[in-house]
Point group: C2
Chain length 127, copies 2
């Protein structure tokens, strides 16, 4: 289920957070679902339990999972919704990236065709 690249520049615990978020957004993990335990993930990924917990703490802090001592971690209520809201903040980052590309001489038309391409893929999936 999870996939970690230890050679990556982004920390392992951050990769874990990102993947859980992605799973929630795609529906692979739904609200109320049990997230794999710290120890089982530690074994499966050959990563120290402390690193797993660091990721879980962060997810808890963001209100995306709810930790229940003795039972496990579960995807929180409204997790998907709150995630959609926060991710929407990335529209700012999109503007930055587009500005950079424009600076490099990429035309508006090229950008638009890129957008069309992505949303073309989306349609394919919904067939």
């Amino acid at each position: 289920m999870f996939q970690i690249d230890v050679m990556s520049r982004t920390p392992v615990y951050e990769q874990l957070v990102e993947q859980v978020e992605k799973f929630i957004l795609t529906g692979i993990l739904s609200e109320g679902d049990k997230v794999p335990s710290v120890r089982s993930l530690s074994m499966e990924l050959s990563v120290n339990p402390n690193t797993i917990q660091k990721a879980f703490s962060e997810l808890d802090r963001r209100g995306l999972i709810s930790s229940v001592p003795g039972k496990g971690c579960f995807v929180a209520e409204k997790a998907r919704e709150s995630l959609q809201v926060s991710k929407r903040g990335n529209l700012e980052g999109l503007s930055s990236q587009i500005r950079e590309l424009a600076l490099a001489g990429v035309s508006k038309e090229e950008i638009l065709s890129c957008v069309e391409k992505v949303f073309g893929e989306e349609e394919k999936k919904n067939d």
Copy 2:
């Protein structure tokens, strides 16, 4: 001219590389221009000379500047052109970011209006 944020997560030498690239793309630094010396930049930014040199080495490695011992560093021939080519590779990253936003429920229309907004700003500048 240069502006460094020592608290940033991105290393100082990387910030320097990015800024030189930006200056080349915007024309603030043209081909043949002399880049500030290692020592002067070190003083101006309160950064160790080694850190400045690390940035310059990287820029040299990328063929964007040409170091002449005893004289200084100069913006290389075709620097702007080769930079435009390499930056164009970021179209891939743009697709990724758009896909992520789509996953978060951002509509195609919102993305398009974001593109329009950026290129609207561009027109203003050319008045």
